[in-house]
């Protein structure tokens, strides 16, 4: 395996949980529900994935349980914000804090236990292709799911009738209600989907990324996923771009730190001086680089204000009380 391939593989692993959690949150936000509890649902997914993999011996059952637990956990949020019309921001924050606490309690006996890793599934023939074979066709099931989710969510939101209904609910719940659409039911389902995705992203952390349980192991990835949705202006393909860009720069800055530029042959001189410039930056600034670059790029690609406004769910974060 060459260096480039190895680097790309690491990037893919780093980007997968962000992509999955962001897609889930996207669906939830498109229906008008801002769920700030992604971090909490993710960590619940991580612990339940780990715990059930330990109990059953199968990382796949672990991942399934993570989806279920993430969904169930999000139902708490849904009940408070959709049925009781509580403030979504406050409830979402509470969900995160609760998730971090409960997962810590649940996972106490799993600290220091070696995890079960979800092994890659090598797809015959396709995996023999140069470069892409290793990257796209020799991955774990959660990676394949993330791609399927991307395709599925894009199709669902923009090509299916139900997706149109969901977007209508997110844009104007009163109009949708007047048309006889069940706003409450749509939002419950959207939040449940978001929770399931966040749970699966968590399972990726504890079963693929770092197969172990440690408290607080999501380490802020839920927040990054949330930010990606906004900066991608609620478009699935931009979320893909954002997640992979974020992963790429995270890994690139680590490599730049460790690499001896003299070791690289045939490096174009322009690239060499750029790399030298980046290498001279303090590592603290390098650590901030992924956040900065992702925000800048996504802001640029969503520079068209009209298009951005069009994509923003107009009822996002607003509680719905049926008036008749």
């Amino acid at each position: 395996m060459g260096l480039t391939e190895a680097i790309l593989l690491t990037i893919f692993t780093a980007a997968t949980p962000l992509l999955i959690a962001s897609l889930g949150e996207l669906v939830s936000e498109r229906s008008g529900v801002l769920n700030l509890g992604v971090e909490g649902m993710m960590i619940m997914g991580a612990i339940s994935g780990f715990a059930f993999a330990q109990i059953t011996g199968s990382p796949y059952l672990g991942a399934v349980s993570a989806i279920l637990v993430g969904s169930l956990f999000s139902m708490l949020f849904a009940f408070l914000t959709i049925t009781l019309v509580a403030n979504q921001v406050a409830t979402g924050l509470a969900l995160t804090i609760l998730g971090l606490g409960v997962s810590g309690l649940w996972g106490e006996s799993y600290i220091g236990v070696a995890g079960i890793k979800m092994e890659p599934i090598v797809i015959p023939v396709l995996s023999q292709l140069p470069v892409v074979g290793k990257l796209l066709f020799s991955q774990d099931l959660i990676f394949y799911s993330s791609i399927a989710l991307l395709v599925g969510v894009t199709w669902f939101l923009f090509r299916s009738r139900t997706g149109l209904v969901l977007r209508a609910v997110g844009d104007s719940h009163h109009s949708a209600h007047a048309l006889g659409i069940s706003v409450i039911k749509t939002r419950y389902l959207a939040v449940a989907f978001g929770g399931g995705c966040a749970g699966l992203a968590g399972a990726h952390l504890s079963l693929v990324y770092t197969p172990q349980w440690v408290e607080n192991m999501s380490a802020g990835r839920g927040w990054i996923a949330l930010a990606l949705v906004v900066f991608a202006s609620w478009r699935p393909l931009r979320i893909l771009a954002g997640a992979y860009l974020f992963g790429a720069i995270t890994i690139a800055q680590l490599h730049i730190q460790a690499i001896d530029l003299r070791d690289i042959e045939f490096l174009p001189s322009a690239l060499f001086s750029l790399a030298e410039l980046i290498k001279a930056m303090p590592s603290q600034a390098l650590s901030a680089l992924p956040y900065l670059a992702t925000i800048i790029v996504l802001v640029i690609i969503s520079g068209n204000r009209r298009l951005t406004l069009m994509n923003t769910p107009a009822s996002l974060g607003k509680g719905f009380v049926p008036d008749r």
Partner: protein, 366 residues
């Protein structure tokens, strides 16, 4: 909206608000409840379940409870900075007699609160500021263990390059990097060390990314100054060797871990808490190492017998005081001479170490 629905919503809201108030009254503040009646208090930068730095401090706390029967309390995952100040003040107010603040970044907060509570004793780990008579500082000479790691790495590595996952550019971490390369150079003068700064104490994902990065760049021995077991797992997966950090991490790399530096805080915590209880507490600045059992090496595993024997011999020499890792001749990274032949570094330079020695393939961040 019909009347029935309004009533339902009002009842639901009433139950929710009532529940919230009941919860509030019963559990005014979970932190205060935790702290009530505790005499020895601890504040950790990470979760006690990190199985690394904070975990080991908590083992020390448990030893205090067990050996002295003193009630203890702790707050975990307290960020360095303003939050720390609040947390420490709360402990001091709640009646803690001795407070251990266990991260470098708590230094200023500890001294600030110590000024307000002259009757409470403060113990700050790995720092150097003792602005008030009720503040002591303590640390362990982890670099002694790093030197032994370096010796082992130079003998085990086939590529002649080791990788170091570093957290923040503070003297404690820089000291470890320098000790490691000095140990390695004692066996192989051309040995190289690649350093990656992750700027966090605890982020398993990032730590594992850093480990993968280093391995991809040709490193075959990994050591870390971050708190989780993620790097050990990556090393195990990729079939290279690694050293455990703070705790014995052999469970995560049965065929990977060469040894681990284990922090054993229990003797110090028991001694100091006892001193507070019998009134003999006085301000001190303690920096013990292997000689006092504060730095313990995990069994030497996954290496040939002669390397293990060499490691044991080095450990014995350091423990007896016959040898200290920072002994001349040592040249700084910029080429200037630091220590002459047989000269031993003074403690001040070690405590404020802000330079690399020769052989580190990295530029030190400011």
């Amino acid at each position: 909206m019909n009347m029935g629905k309004i009533v339902t919503i009002i009842i639901a809201l009433a139950v929710a608000i009532g529940g919230a108030i009941w919860w509030q009254m019963n559990q005014v503040d979970p932190e205060d409840a935790k702290l009530a009646g505790a005499e020895a208090c601890f504040i950790y930068v990470g979760p006690v379940g990190d199985f690394g730095w904070s975990y080991q401090h908590d083992q020390g706390r448990l030893a205090v409870e067990k050996e002295l029967g003193v009630k203890t309390a702790y707050l975990e995952s307290v960020p360095e900075g303003a939050d720390a100040e609040r947390a420490i003040e709360r402990m001091a107010r709640s009646g803690c007699k001795i407070i251990f603040t266990t991260s470098f970044g708590y230094m200023d907060a500890t001294n600030k609160i110590a000024a307000k509570f002259p009757d409470v004793k403060f113990e700050h780990a790995t720092g150097y500021k003792r602005d008030h008579a009720n503040v002591s500082t303590y640390s362990s000479k982890f670099y002694e263990g790093r030197y032994i790691q370096g010796v082992i790495a130079a003998r085990i590595s086939k590529t002649g390059v080791a990788g170091y996952i570093a957290s923040f550019p503070i003297p404690e971490v820089v000291r470890g990097i320098n000790a490691f390369i000095l140990g390695a150079q004692s066996e192989d003068p051309d040995f190289k060390l690649k350093v990656v700064w992750v700027n966090t104490w605890f982020d398993p994902g990032k730590e594992s990314d850093a480990a993968k990065t280093l391995i991809d760049q040709g490193v075959d021995v990994i050591t870390q100054h971050t708190d989780s077991t993620a790097a050990m797992q990556v090393a195990a997966e990729r079939g290279v060797h690694a050293f455990g950090q703070a705790s014995d991490m052999i469970e995560f790399g049965k065929e990977t871990q060469l040894t681990a530096i284990i922090d054993d805080w229990a003797p110090y915590y028991v001694e100091r808490t006892k001193a507070v209880m019998d009134g003999s507490w006085g301000q001190i600045d303690v920096w013990h190492g292997m000689d006092h059992g504060n730095v313990v090496m995990a069994p030497y595993t996954n290496m040939p017998d002669d390397v293990a024997a060499l490691a044991k011999a080095t450990e014995a020499k350091i423990t007896s005081g016959e040898f200290t890792p920072f002994t001349g001749p040592v040249i700084k990274q910029d080429g200037s001479e630091w220590l002459k032949w047989n000269e031993v570094s003074d403690i001040g330079t070690l405590l404020g170490m802000n330079f690399y020695v020769e052989g580190v393939d990295d530029k030190l961040p400011n």
